[in-house]
């Protein structure tokens, strides 16, 4: 099989000592960031991007580092959920439901061990899925013209709006705002300066890395500052993680089902890990019925969402790598990294730089094993990070963001821009306008406009080219279906919460 040969090649790339070391660093740092309450994969990866640039890493190395951070964060997110009942990030939310009750019963270590194994299985299944399905999608995507790509971008916004947020209006507002912000700067086709108002720093457009760090890291700090945090941290008694390994054997059905559900929701553009963990938990609860004791510390209630969210994280890489359409906030950031290194993901990437794509996939397999090995014996160490005082952690985040962003262009203007985006991100969060579509709009706007204009110049100004092919009509139909599905999902969610 062709894929296997490519994968073998990938392993040859990824097992170079330099890349192994980067993967290890990424996994460890990612787990730490993910474990901190409030800092999830989006912030973690956003914060690491300026650092990756400064390392002077080549694209493959930078991608391996950041994807390891991404996977690490997904692993780490469960630690504060289980130990403190505070999800490190949104997808880890479902893990609190049974993880914290387990910790209260003194089975915290077991829960952490079990969730490490569940995460490992979920992520590995997703990575296998990535290996199998990404090339298929690439074969399809090779037939895409500009009109189809335009439809695909609309699909991404439709799903991220429809699925991830409670309010349609607000997520589409966020997407439009991002797209509008994305037009700032010199128009690459006509060289006209748009919305720069004479500020020459804006001629290159809004640097999305600066915007990202502001929207996520800085706004997170502003949220933190709302309340005083001088209370003592609780002391955590964990116990060993090893019993969790045994418990995972008895949960193998749960883990398998959770992984599959998570993987599918991860592949849908825009749906991402939160949906993955939510669906796996809910469906497993339904599946087990009265045999389960969900909400009161059932180990399967930890295994299902952890398998689900890690599988979704892997699944989300498929549309990002093969189509250039990110499936979640974090993959949007990875896409931003690639674009700013002048690499455009999509079918051509697989054809032209297979060693990079498959090296990355191999690095994911290796990273997973590293994470499992790191997480079972060292989980006590990671949990201890939660004891570090927040007056040390938060300034550290802010300062790393500052120095990282400054060193991108050595420009104080970028720092002011980052602060402005921090305030914007904060206000949007308070308004319950999701920030991920803003980032996606800012990031994809240029490509979307470019494809639109190319389609139009092919057709000579005839707008009907946008709906002229079976593929694009199919994509629009799929987008419509997903919006409806999103509405149903939102309704179910509302009923669940009511």
């Amino acid at each position: 099989m062709e894929t296997l040969a490519f994968l073998a090649q990938g392993f040859a790339v990824a097992t170079q000592p330099e890349f192994l070391l980067l993967a290890l660093i990424g996994c460890a740092v990612g787990t730490l960031i993910g474990a901190l309450p409030g800092l999830g994969p989006v912030n973690g990866v956003a914060l690491m991007i300026p650092l990756a640039f400064n390392f002077g890493l080549d694209p493959t190395a930078a991608l391996i580092l950041l994807v390891s951070v991404y996977y690490g964060c997904m692993y780490g997110g469960r630690i504060s959920s289980i130990v403190l009942n505070i999800p490190g990030d949104e997808p880890a939310m479902m893990t609190t439901l049974d993880g914290y009750p387990m910790a209260l019963k003194g089975r915290g270590g077991e829960a952490l061990g079990l969730s490490a194994v569940a995460s490992f299985v979920g992520a590995t299944i997703a990575t296998i899925g990535l290996t199998l399905f990404a090339p298929l999608l690439v074969d399809l995507a090779i037939k895409f013209g500009p009109a189809e790509y335009f439809a695909l971008f609309l699909l991404a916004f439709a799903t991220i709006g429809g699925v991830t947020s409670g309010s349609f209006t607000k997520s589409f507002i966020a997407a439009c705002l991002g797209l509008l912000l994305g037009t700032v700067g010199i128009d690459p086709v006509s060289s006209v300066a748009r919305y720069t108002f004479g500020t020459f720093e804006l001629y290159d457009g809004i640097d999305f890395i600066v915007a990202l760090v502001g929207l996520f890291a800085i706004s997170e700090c502003l949220v933190f500052l709302e309340q005083r945090h001088d209370a003592d941290k609780p002391h955590i008694k964990l116990g060993s993680a090893w019993p969790g390994m045994k418990a995972s054997l008895s949960c193998k059905g749960t883990i398998g089902r959770g992984s599959l559900i998570g993987f599918v929701s991860g592949v849908l553009p825009g749906a991402g890990a939160s949906l993955g963990s939510f669906l796996s938990y809910m469906l497993e609860k339904r599946w087990l019925g009265s045999k389960g004791d969900f909400g009161n510390g059932d180990p399967r209630g930890v295994a299902a969402p952890e398998a689900g969210n890690n599988a979704a994280a892997g699944g989300a890489l498929i549309p990002m790598l093969s189509l250039g359409i990110p499936g979640s906030g974090t993959t949007a950031i990875l896409l931003a990294l690639l674009l700013s290194m002048n690499i455009t993901p999509g079918p051509l990437l697989f054809a032209q730089q297979p060693e990079m794509v498959w090296g990355l996939v191999a690095a994911l397999f290796i990273g997973n094993i590293m994470l499992l090995v790191l997480n079972v014996p060292l989980v006590g160490l990671f949990a201890r990070v939660l004891q570090a005082p927040s007056w040390l952690l938060m300034p550290m985040v802010v300062l790393i963001a500052f120095v990282g962003v400054y060193s991108l262009n050595n420009s104080p203007f970028d720092l002011y821009m980052m602060l402005a985006f921090g305030v914007l991100g904060y206000v949007l969060r308070k308004l319950e306008i999701p920030t991920v579509p803003v980032v996606l709009g800012l990031l994809l706007g240029g490509q979307m406009e470019f494809n639109l204009r190319r389609a139009m110049s092919i057709s000579g100004g005839d707008w009907s080219i946008l709906v002229n092919s079976g593929i694009s009509i199919g994509i629009y139909a799929f987008a419509a279906t997903l919006i409806v599905a999103g509405a149903v999902y939102a309704m179910l969610l509302k009923r669940r919460l009511a």
Partner: protein, 162 residues
């Protein structure tokens, strides 16, 4: 990460007539302004779609959605109280000052001062802030200057330069 959280937000959210309507109004003005301004972009020769078309294409739904938000406001998370607002403002001012002083003062002095005050603003006692801030500044300097090989702005009056 809680900005999209349907699941935990319900504890802390309120109906938001004022917040959402204000946001809707601001966004509406922004959309209309973007629409109006986009007509000043000159369409070049032989371009079926000029530089103004895409911004107009985006500002149209933005205006419509913003108007809808004014008519049907939704929910907001709880806005910060006065003390919280003061803390946020203090940190933002400090960071703006730090950004402005980074180049005139040089990296080390600016970061040293910035880190100490920042740690203090995040709730450390003065003694803790002094130690943690100094450690952070030196650690960052070592990380960027030596480990990453990034030249950071030197202290101007030390001469040399980079």
């Amino acid at each position: 990460m809680s900005q999209m959280s349907d699941l935990d937000a319900h504890q802390d959210r309120r109906p938001a007539q004022v917040g959402d309507r204000l946001a809707g109004a601001v966004l509406l003005v922004l959309a209309l302004g973007a629409w109006w301004h986009s007509h000043s972009f000159v369409t070049g020769f032989m371009q079926p779609v000029g530089p103004g078309a895409f911004p107009r294409l985006v500002s149209l739904p933005l205006a419509a959605l913003a108007a809808y938000l004014i008519l049907r406001p939704g929910f907001n998370e709880r806005w910060p109280d006065r003390a919280g607002l003061a803390r946020q403002l203090a940190v933002l001012l400090l960071l703006a000052a730090y950004a402005g002083l980074l180049e005139p003062l040089g990296f080390l002095p600016a970061t040293l001062a910035g880190a100490i005050v920042l740690t203090r603003l995040f709730g450390a006692a003065w003694g803790q802030a002094l130690i943690a801030g100094t450690g952070l500044a030196l650690g960052l300097y070592a990380l960027f200057e030596f480990a990453l090989g990034m030249p950071l702005p030197d202290v101007p009056w030390w001469g040399g330069g980079n």
